[in-house]
């Protein structure tokens, strides 16, 4: 790093007015033109840290201690008027949600012109128009007269985000803070927006702090990565430390490669993150992330850490320069030769090692090399009942319209019994619609469904109770899928009594069994959904389906609202259920998840089936350009 960093954050602490720290003791530096990826799961304080760089804390919180200097200017010490000038001009901000961060009542051009009027009042007339034109072009938006006359709601999500980026770069700042700017976007859009950001930073020599919950997103962009956990930066290192050049997460201590990440949390995060290039068992991080008021003394990760000792519970580890720019805040940083307590799955995740991993970890049965033909794969499914027979669920030439708009066009899909089937697509591809049609939501459907060779009614209301029970659907959002006024016992007991006519006591017993199957403690039965975390709620939702003793479980993006470490746990649960013989249809936008868990995959685009086949075969050698572009986008290349 150069002698004089562009951004220097020292001892930064942001606390709620009510007491607890959101961010505590953060030190960061950033060289001019450098891009830092700031990665953390929800509640880690990354957004709070990001806005604190601009001297802002949300209502209800305060910057309590520490300093932030940008280009030698002490941001936190500035008087309000100077601070206002510095915001936008010296350091600017791109907000997370483009749909709400643009004023709905003002035209795009007006908002851009306002930015110039505030920060570059010397510009007049044609110069203003020229600047705006240039900024739109640089952000990948159509220049010209028409575009600036539009209102935010007339743009797509990607375009809105590009407008925010144009706004941020317009006053030519030295530093841009981007707060998860692509979270709400599709992967391909996301890749294009990331490319724009990269280009703008390079061309204008602007440094950036890029906040994300996803290590995968920053790897195509950042020079350095800082990992946050419970309000602290636990590890900072060059990007290469986290990822090998081939973009596979890096194993620890492999000779000839840069030393891998050293903080146990970073290890856990990488082990839980799906990777589109290699099939690995995703490993959840045990335990829960602490909530704001209840962060433990000492190392916040200690309760979840396999290496924790007495000191971890009492003393907060200070960041330690492990080698050059690599800083770790851990009493027992990992490194050197793999220790005995390190499961080899985490160690050997490179291409050559995947074979061993598959054999060693039973959750995903041996499927053989992914390049093998589908017939071989099926043979390898061994003596699974139903293999090679008529598919358990068959959809033929399904079309669906939503009013006048046709959402699905002649889609056909077979679900093999006992298989983990992934349905992939971007938003608007019709993947959720197809899953809902199979589940019996009804609507304007044409086409045929069969179950076990027998015709299956399109509308759930026309299906016999037996079939309604056999096909179970799990909703995307665990916060809306459970009745907030019922206890978990009631939520689980109702379908048991409805379908099996069981007595109250028996229903209760079966509900407890189901909780056990989804790895929840029996005390959960007395709780209401509000008292549960997102991951726990999703487990309860799955348990509600399991008590019906289904043959098919249709899961609609059930992990997309969850953190990666929680997602890994849910996926682990699902693969376990599949081993018990359950057929799973898993709707997702995430090809990494597909690689990790799916046997078969179908790719949808614009309501049409684009590609279908064994998951590994499709991902290794996609037959369609569209699939290829999805995979490329998932790798962080565009």
């Amino acid at each position: 790093m150069t002698a004089r960093p562009l951004l220097r954050v020292e001892g930064l602490r942001v606390a709620l007015d009510s007491g607890p720290d959101i961010v505590s003791g953060v030190d960061l530096t950033l060289a001019p033109g450098e891009i830092l990826g700031l990665v953390g799961e929800s509640g880690s304080g990354k957004t709070t840290l990001a806005t604190a760089i601009l001297g802002h804390a949300r209502p209800g919180a305060r910057i309590v201690a520490g300093s932030v200097s940008v280009n030698g200017v002490d941001i936190l010490g500035l008087p309000p008027r100077e601070l206002r000038r510095a915001r936008g001009k010296l350091v600017s901000y791109v907000a997370q949600d483009p749909a709400t961060a643009l004023n709905p009542a003002l035209r795009i051009g007006t908002q851009l012109a306002e930015m110039l009027a505030v920060h570059r009042p010397d510009l007049r007339g044609a110069a203003v128009a020229g600047e705006i034109d240039g900024a739109l072009r640089a952000a990948g938006l159509p220049p010209g007269e028409d575009f600036p006359r539009r209102y935010p709601h007339q743009l797509s999500g990607g375009q809105q985000q590009r407008v925010l980026i144009a706004l941020a770069f317009l006053p030519r700042p030295r530093l841009v803070v981007l707060d998860e700017p692509t979270t709400a976007l599709d992967v391909t859009t996301q890749a294009r927006v990331l490319a724009s950001v990269r280009g703008l930073c390079r061309d204008q020599g602007v440094a950036a702090v890029y906040v994300s919950h996803d290590l995968g997103v920053v790897r195509g962009l950042a020079d350095r990565v800082a990992v946050m956990y419970a309000g602290r930066v636990v590890e900072t290192a060059a990007l290469g430390t986290f990822f090998s050049p081939g973009h596979a997460p890096l194993a620890n201590g492999v000779p000839g490669r840069p030393a891998g990440p050293r903080h146990p949390y970073t290890h856990g995060l990488l082990a839980a993150s799906p990777d589109v290039d290699a099939r690995r068992t995703l490993r959840p991080i045990p335990g829960h992330a602490p909530h704001l008021g209840g962060r433990p003394a000492g190392c916040a990760f200690a309760p979840r850490c396999a290496h924790a000792t007495a000191i971890c519970e009492t003393e907060v580890p200070v960041p330690d320069v492990a080698g050059g720019e690599h800083q770790v805040a851990c009493h027992h940083p990992l490194g050197g030769p793999p220790g005995p307590e390190e499961p080899s799955a985490r160690e050997e995740a490179t291409e050559d090692a995947t074979e061993d991993v598959r054999r060693e970890n039973r959750p995903i049965p041996d499927r053989g090399p992914s390049t093998r033909a589908p017939e071989d794969t099926r043979r390898e499914e061994r003596s699974r009942p139903g293999a090679g027979r008529e598919p358990l669920l068959r959809a033929s030439r399904i079309s669906f319209s939503y009013g006048a708009r046709q959402v699905l066009h002649d889609v056909s899909l077979d679900l093999t019994e006992g298989a983990f089937h992934a349905l992939v697509g971007e938003s608007g591809s019709g993947k959720t619609t197809l899953a809902r049609v199979l589940s019996g939501f009804g609507g304007q459907v044409t086409g045929e469904l069969t179950h076990d060779g027998a015709p299956l009614a399109v509308s759930g209301a026309d299906r016999p109770a037996e079939l309604r029970r056999r096909l179970q659907y799990v909703f995307q959002n665990p916060y809306r899928a459970l009745n907030p006024r019922q206890t978990v016992a009631e939520i689980l007991g109702t379908p048991i009594r409805h379908f099996f006519g069981a007595s109250r006591d028996e229903a209760r017993q079966r509900a407890l069994d189901a909780l056990d199957r989804v790895a929840l403690r029996p005390e959960i039965a007395r709780r209401r959904p509000r008292e549960l975390s997102g991951g726990e709620r999703q487990r309860v939702a799955i348990a509600r389906s399991l008590v019906c003793e289904p043959r098919v479980l249709i899961c609609d993006e059930i992990t997309s609202a969850l953190d990666v470490s929680v997602q890994a746990a849910i996926l682990e649960l699902l693969t376990g259920l599949r081993r018990d013989g359950l057929t799973v249809l898993f709707v997702t936008h995430d090809l990494g998840v597909v690689r990790a868990v799916a046997d078969e995959v179908s790719v949808l685009r614009g309501g049409r089936l684009v590609e279908h086949g064994p998951a590994d075969a499709v991902l290794d050698a996609p037959g369609e350009t569209y699939t290829r572009s999805l995979i490329a986008a998932a790798r962080g290349r565009s």
Binding site: T51, L54, H56, R58, P59, R84, R85, A86, R87, G88, K89, S92, Y93, A95, A99, T100, A101, L102, N103, P104, A105, L106, E114, V118, P142, D146, Y151, H153, Q154, S156, G157, G158, Q159, L164, L167, A168, P171, A184, L185, D186, T189, R192, Y402, G403, E426, S427, G428, G430, T432, T433, A435, R436, V437, F441, G442, G443, V445, Q476, N477, D556
Partner: protein, 363 residues
Amino acid sequence: MTVPTPAASPEKASGPQTASGAGPGLEGRTAPGAGPGPGGPTARAGWGRWLLRRMAYGVTAIWATSAVVFAATQALPSDPAMAILGRDATPESLARLRLELGLDRPLWQQYLTWLRGVLTGDLGRSLDSGTDVGTLLGGRLANSLALLVCALTVALALALALGVFAALRRGGPADRLVTSAAVSLQAVPGFVVAIALIILLATTVWPVFPAASLLEPGISPFAQPWYLVLPALTLVVAETPYLLRQVRSSVIDALESDYATAARLRGVPERRVIWRHALPNGLVPAVQATALTTSVLLGGSLVVEVAFSYPGLGGALNAAVGARDIPVIQAAALLLAGGVVVVNLVADLVTVLLTPRLRTGER
């Protein structure tokens, strides 16, 4: 009217795909734009068509109110002929008058006759005084409008000023004072306010204004403003608290919105954030709130007019109900209800015009 062209960018619209948005819905979910209420125009239909539909809806509503009014008055337990001729009338003269008034015809024919009269401006004759209802109510309507315009202007100005003031000082002592005063006043019935004001400003404590608003007939109420003060003040006290609280909460929403925060983080001066970003968005809900309170205001005006003996429409209606003067009741009730429908229509229109998302009718 701008007709937006579809996005030229290769990126597809990528709003969050919620389960309900793209998937088939269960039956029974309302289609967007099913009810032409103040939901605003939807889809790509454009707001021209929305306006037509909204107006048609308003017309049917007014027609329905006329039917309700007519039905209600026909059920009055009195005989108009008897009311006109008095109790001593002979059965023959009563029968003759009934025939003359068309009371022997079926109800629907009577209704159509009445409706035709209303549409041609002939509201019939008062049973009580025998004068033409149009002339009888015309002057009173003007008086009522004067009162309402005064009250609404002051109430709106007050609500906007205090609402924005409280929103800018949200959480502070000034805000708490304004808000709790509004909460308290909001609950108090209009006639209680009227009596309190009479005690305070007309009779007992500080008698400066007349307790009864005995307007000189034939002269505009604005020419004799001292009679307007107390009735208008009563309505202001009754109307302002609700409006104020609406303004306050929607301005706070706008001030704390993501786009206002984003503008601040872009270095936009706070004054500009307030005037350019927060207020234009924050004041739109006040339009709907104003329309919603019109009905309350009109109901309140009846009580206020009675309390201050103010010669307005409400007072006339009250007197007519007492005298069972059916044509007057019909005309006054129809005017009041029709007024509410029209005000709501205008408010919807203004809301749509002030909201680009509704105006351009997309997404």
